[in-house]
Symmetry: C2
Subunit: 491 residues, 2 copies
């Protein structure tokens, strides 16, 4: 094994890229150099890529072998590689910081094999979770990890994502059985077969989940499946304070009741739902707990619904409603689902920014995080501060909250500073700077604050070990080399 | 970073070890060189360590800083390090193949902090899960991962273990929130704080879980907790074939019923329970499904118990019983719990061997694994084969089965060969060679067969990256270097 380089170098000359394309053409690997296509592969939602941050070519492999051929060639030619599956990632993981080429998994979007008795499915990375669930529905099964609707399996693995179902079902970490992946030098590994559990060697499956395309490219995944929720009920309770809603969740957990989902929005968040007119009714603009109940036993549901009602009463709930009516379910849960789009309607000007945090803290510290967030925003030294629209919605069962800020474009730096302060607060409250969105480019300093210089250096060593030339998604998660900036970045 | 060595060397001269001890004495780190103590730290249950496979000194750190001081000194002096927490591991993970020194966590056995509202606990690695649960019981909480009763948290993390509760609750992989660990060079990392979920950087927590002390020494862990099972019921159903029992489990899963535990023993296994007289009654010597039901809703339990009864009837169960009577629960579940000790009573001679497999396959292939195991044992070319006692018990909800063989000591190689064939069969059935016991020394060739040369090489690169001098538990999980034997070992 060669000595780890003291600095990483790439060869992105037109000659080298042209030679790469010619080589891969002989393997019949589809590709494009159309400028619009190239830009589309590097854009982050609400934050388009700069011209120098787009790939020079994008390849569309159709097999693991194709991916192996591409990476072997890039490894030999010192070409950086970003990846694309459907482009819903927030933190800049798609940005082609060094140019290089992009591997898009859009043509690898098949269900390879459904194993109903084992409740697992073998899929390709370009498959969307919504599309997967459409196929599974008729079998009475579903894949429960539910990030943004456009997301596909490859990106979901890369970012270790979750969603509203995480409280009941867990995150990607809990729902991937094994992976087929291609390392930077083109070698193909399969982390396991299809057993539900294994103690066989290092857990390469979990090492790759959340590595944001920096360690290997996943070409196939075995996913666990759950049975479709039965007897679905949706509930909504309103409170005078966020803390009251949190108290209900803590008490529910202690009572051993396992609901399907628990989401808590603050008053401004409900105001924004009303303002957007995206929901089917006007809601009270107070802290609102959204609840989902389901299960094979209607007797259990009756017990649970009664228990929740009592807990809400004990927290002086202003209202409490539970329904099994499908239209009413659509109205209530629809209010939760529209929040992302509703926030965008709060822009006063098309150029306004939509920025948000993704911290998670132990649930007993969640109310303190939300309160502290309000204080940090109120104290932000910006002339326009009163024009900011700020709201919070939390996957409250997991202690994960998204604090959103809509503001004039001139306030980008001020908001970035506040978001960084919120991340620091989350760490003081024993939490994490990102519960489900990943690090990308934006949270690298925050990650350093979370795991320390030794923690980042351990990650960097693993990166070097598996990708000695640093070709895979360089600059993401952490800087490839500590240039001394890490010490400065520590608060 | 120095170039990875082409071969690992250690300095275990008396002079070097004496110098190490003197150095660590100045840090007041307790230690022992008593021969009996040294041997006790390297023994594998039912398979004592050889004299040359014991450490030269054992240290008893009382803090993370102690561990850091020890590893830094060993790293500088090229001294190999094995670890000990309570010594229940089967696969030889404790064996001091190179001598060197042992770090025992027996004095680091405290509960550091219990966070009731967050349902997590911060513990040291030497704490036993049974002792932890004794403290948690009065709070109505428990830690659900239940391997052998003597096991402690450090070893449980090292081996990525599980037990009878894994079907309902999952394995160590699902119940560790974060770790504090010391790397080979003495640097201290903390993988996260206490959030229930995180996407912040590489998943070092899971990289360390199951790494068998080869990547870092864990000095503190944050564990998730569950509420104590309420309204416990235990059931027992008997069938004419193993497949019938498996069918019940598959159907239960598809119906969405989540029981607390599902264990399936074959006829010989039940014979051995009877023969041992360790259980409180005589059982029918036919395939037997052990069931546990629990939950906050008695209504749900009634539903579940009725559903299981119907499924058992549909599989022509010979008997079906469910009880909430605590004495009767002790008798029925006691029969399952005594199986390990009961197997030992089948030895005809004290020197007889007790050997077993730990394969896990997708549940639809479980009956094929058990049937194939019978055939492989029947075909074993040993003169004494008819004297072997063979039995199977499975964590059937996870597709994990332990096939045990009690045989004369002269048959060690023949049994090892059969167990290796069973592991290969499990791989052909899309499974793993170890569901919960880990690789250690015994399953290294089987791991190679499972993940291939590229998979092992990826693990080896990670090992080199974090422990460049190879001092941490050398030779475990895989050979430190591929001496060409790996190609030969492939079947």
């Amino acid at each position: 094994m060669p000595q780890p380089p003291s600095s990483y170098t790439y060869n992105h000359t037109q000659t080298n890229i042209t030679s790469l394309i010619s080589h891969l053409e002989t393997h019949n690997i589809p590709y494009s150099t159309d400028p619009e296509t190239l830009t589309s592969k590097a854009n982050t939602p609400h934050s388009p890529a700069q011209p120098h941050e787009t790939p020079l070519a994008v390849f569309f492999p159709t097999s693991t072998q194709h991916v192996s051929t591409i990476l072997k060639a890039c490894h030999e030619r010192l070409v950086a590689v970003t990846t694309f599956s459907s482009g819903t990632s927030f933190g800049g993981a798609l940005t082609a910081t060094r140019g290089g080429i992009c591997v898009s998994f859009e043509k690898m979007n098949k269900i390879v094999r459904l194993n109903e008795d084992d409740m697992d499915v073998v899929v390709q990375p370009g498959l969307g979770w919504v599309e997967l669930n459409e196929v599974l529905r008729e079998k009475g099964l579903f894949f429960p990890v539910d990030p943004a609707p456009g997301a596909s399996v490859g990106g979901m693995i890369a970012m270790s994502c979750s969603g509203t179902n995480a409280y009941r079902y867990g995150t990607m970490k809990e729902w991937v059985i094994s992976l087929t992946a291609v390392l930077a030098n083109g070698s193909i590994i399969k982390t396991h077969n299809r057993p539900r559990k294994s103690s066989a060697g290092y857990d390469l499956t979990h090492l790759l989940i959340g590595s944001e395309g920096t360690l290997a490219l996943v070409t196939q995944a075995v996913l666990k499946l759950a049975i479709l929720p039965q007897n679905l009920h949706v509930g909504l309770a309103t409170f005078t304070s966020f803390q009251h809603g949190v108290n209900v969740v803590v008490a529910l957990q202690k009572a051993g009741h396992q609901l399907e989902a628990l989401e808590l929005a603050d008053g401004p968040q409900m105001h924004c739902v009303n303002y957007s007119r995206l929901a089917g009714q006007v809601f009270s603009e107070t802290p609102t707990l959204f609840l989902k109940f389901a299960g094979p036993s209607t007797a259990l549901l009756t017990d649970q619904i009664r228990a929740v009602e009592q807990l809400c009463k004990a927290q002086n709930a202003l209202s409490y409603e539970v329904t099994a009516d499908t239209h009413r379910i659509d109205v209530l849960w629809g209010a939760r689902k529209c929040i992302g789009r509703a926030l965008l309607t709060m822009k006063k000007h098309p150029s306004d920014l939509f920025m948000h945090s993704d911290c998670a803290v132990p649930i007993s510290n969640l109310a303190a995080l939300v309160e502290g967030t309000h204080e940090l925003i109120a104290a932000a030294p910006s002339r326009n501060r009163k024009e900011w629209f700020c709201a919070n919605v939390g996957h409250v069962g997991d202690g994960n909250v998204h604090s959103s800020i809509i503001c004039p474009v001139a306030d980008r730096l001020a908001v970035e500073r506040v978001l960084r302060q919120i991340a620091s607060l989350a760490l003081r409250l024993e939490g994490t700077v990102t519960g489900e969105h990943g690090v990308g480019l934006k949270l690298r300093d925050a990650l350093l604050e979370e795991v320390g210089g030794q923690g980042v250096e351990a990650m960097r060593r693993v990166k070097r070990a598996l990708d000695e030339r640093g070709i895979l998604n360089p600059d993401k998660v952490f800087r490839l080399e500590d240039d001394g900036g890490e010490e400065r970045a520590k608060l």
